[in-house]
Amino acid sequence: MSIATIGAFAIGEFSEAVAVMIFYQVGELLQDYAVDKSKASIKSLLNIRPDYANVKRNNEIIKVNPEEVNIEEIIIVKPGERIPLDGIIIDGKSMIDTSALTGESVPKSVKAQDEVLSGCINKNGLLEVKVTKKFKESTVNKMLELVQNASDKKAQTENFITKFAKIYTPVVVLIAFIIATIPSIFFGNFAQWLYRALSFLVVSCPCALVISIPLGFFAGIGRSAKAGVLIKGGNYLEALSKINTLVFDKTGTLTKGVFEVQSINPINISKDELIKLVAHAESYSTHPIANSIKKAYAKQINNSIISNVQEIAGLGIEAIVEEKNILVGNEKLMLQKNINYIKSKEVGTVLYVAINKEFAGTILISDEIKENTKTVLNSLKQHYIAKTVMLTGDKKEIAEDVAKKLEIDEVYSELLPDKKVKKVEELLNNKNKNKTLAFVGDGINDSPALAVSDVGIAMGALGSDAAIEAADIVIMTDELSKIETAIKISKKTMKIVKENIIFSIVVKIAILILTAIGFSNMWQAVFADVGVSILAVLNVVLRKEYI
């Protein structure tokens, strides 16, 4: 631009030189405004950094910087205040607004012993919270760091534009030089060819591409953060738009990850009596299965009626409850103790119970499929995904039962974490090279698989540091439907980005040709240049709310 305008001055075209510069600067001003606005919208979204914490020290409540609060200290959160640090409520109950972290607009009810995360707003009650993490490790700080660093990771398209601009600039300067010199040797009239060359330089500026492409990715990342999906960079947004294989972990992703008693099948005893005896026998165990039994019993355990509790490794438990001998465990336990039992045909973890060496029935414990999972998977398959795969460490029959219920295309069971990684690598090798594969996990046990896949998506990651570190995309809640939201945003973002690339390049080439052959003057050239930039920026700014 500078060469062109100074050149115009040199050939006495003062008005054109100034007009070019003024209109160019007006275009730049508008672009700055768009970038500022986009940045401001992300900043407002992340305006969740707490300014202070009311900490209780020596029976006094003092206002301090959240960074100065230590673990185990007690903080007071008044109604209307933002929770400054992660912790556990020790007193009080309230409704908290988690929308800044999750995108969920419905307030959540919390009470003593519940975990609260920094960044949420306390709506009504007074809360006394015991701090569990330093500010640096807190959820709010992790989120801020993550989104702020997102623009550092450029998408393939952004990198292409940067490379393109590097080659493009010297090439157009060379062409302008050729236009100014070669034709004038043959046809004379150097001033006219110089003017054309200078107009050519004006129109060649690639600002529309350089500004509008990053702006598009910026808008997409901001929009998804608003929906509770944190995307760590434009590259992942682009990869997500090309997705055609979704690989899921089972426990905690497709299922709730919480074992619950599904059915009680008593023989010659009432259901209540059976669950009571089993809950008492299991009362000393902290195993998830024992916990689910105690949860199903839902009454106080009377320790005085329990004696001689023995854990039989890998088999189950033997105990005396109300002076009855209780055996609870798997089939092997029944075989070992010579109990005449009836084999259960149910799918899941089956507990066999014997009272005084007589078979008394079974209790089925299994994980529950999350609500809406099937609907979301069907919608994903209908619109975006060609293949769904489930990987699990669980038993074959349980895995197949879940896969059948959810209509998952491929299922691989009894996989240890390293085998899961190998399976993901195998799927990556066999997929279409132009498409991507995403692994969806709960982010803690699945870190290696999240890392090797094209796009690692961590579900329900709120408060889980491991998940935030390992994944490329972090879904703050455990709603599978957010995957569909993220894919939709990525596709719309890429559509806008591609529109801008095609529009800018096509118009630019057309004007360059017209200018080189003398069909447009410098004024028209500058209008074309500024016009394309403004239209490309407007294409992002006006449509970003609809992404």
Binding site: A19, M21, I22, E28, L29, D36, K39, P214
Partner: protein
């Protein structure tokens, strides 16, 4: 942003004056163009853009 708008406005006014009024001697018009150009040229927004991305 405000400063930039003011600079562009001043440059634009000078440009319009120079474009519409023919001063004598004529180098005043040239001078006005040059001043207008310098005012608007100072605004180097490329640097600020680079900062964003």
């Amino acid at each position: 942003m405000k400063k930039d708008i003011i600079k562009i406005l001043i440059a634009f006014i000078l440009f319009i004056i120079s474009l519409t009024i023919s001063f004598t001697p004529s180098y005043i018009n040239t001078l006005l163009y040059i001043v207008s150009y310098i005012i608007v040229r100072i605004r180097n927004s490329n640097k600020s853009n680079k900062k964003y991305f």
